[in-house]
């Protein structure tokens, strides 16, 4: 099921399918490892900042930014 990263529950894992952002933010996110096909895990869910594990690093994203990253969480729980 596709959804924004911000909607993933705490402890949830998913694969990034797209980043819906302007050039500047998209680039910044790619550089931090948020690229298509990459596996991410939510360590702390929102509301508010979301703590995400990506490419072996923990990254805190603003809620709004996490809404721009679309992931596929597999089967709905």
């Amino acid at each position: 099921m596709k959804m924004p990263l911000a909607m993933l529950p705490e402890g949830g894992e998913a694969v990034i399918t797209s980043v819906v952002a302007g050039r500047g933010l998209a680039r910044r996110l790619y550089e931090m490892g948020f690229v298509r096909g990459e596996r991410v895990k939510v360590l702390r869910a929102g509301p508010g900042p979301v703590l995400v594990l990506v490419k072996g690093s923990r990254v805190a994203l603003g809620w709004g930014v996490a809404m721009k990253i679309i992931v596929d969480g597999g089967e709905a729980p």
Partner: protein, 232 residues
Amino acid sequence: MIRVALIGNPNVGKSLIFNNLTGGRAHVGNWPGKTVEKKVGKCVHKGVEMEIIDLPGVYSLTARSVDELIARDFIVEEKPDVVVDIADASNLERNLYLTVQLIELEANVVVALNKSDLAMDMGYEIDADELSRLLGVPVVPTVATTKQGMEELKDAIVKAARERKKSPLKIDYGRRAEALIERLEELIRKDPMLSQRYPTRWLAVRLLEGDEDVLRKVRGSAVWPEVAEVIR
């Protein structure tokens, strides 16, 4: 005296390597006009004097933050003899992004593969020779905390400064982008003010990316109208 710049992502052990190389004695100041610390130290290895400049810890070399701009400007404008890129071996993929950007900038790169012990504990086996072959630059495994690999790193720096080879690594951006890059490079070569100061391919790629800082540099050039036509 050879000038050596240290660069790397945040938290890779850059400060520790700086201290290992300089014996902890550093001249601390600010980058001109910026509230960012600048550390400069000295190191003598086998009779060769080195000035070690610590650049800010950055993930990339886009000109988005002050840190990134300082690091990039130093490498582009000051052209240090050697740039030591300190990479975290336990999280290599993320770190190689900066490495590739440095190679695109045509810096004289030596990679220090730090935290090699941690990488081994995590079960990673990194073939430094093969990595060196793929990147076209020397790669030295190090463990900054126990000073392992420091002599080898210094040897590699001195050797790189003498040889000053350019890495043959070229990222292929695909047929469409490459055609535009080629046209931009032709235009850039027409303006010696640009082509003598910056690597032409690097400038072309950054122009296509819409890098604000690079656009500002090229806007003053006589070739700008033609460049603007290509990147429109």
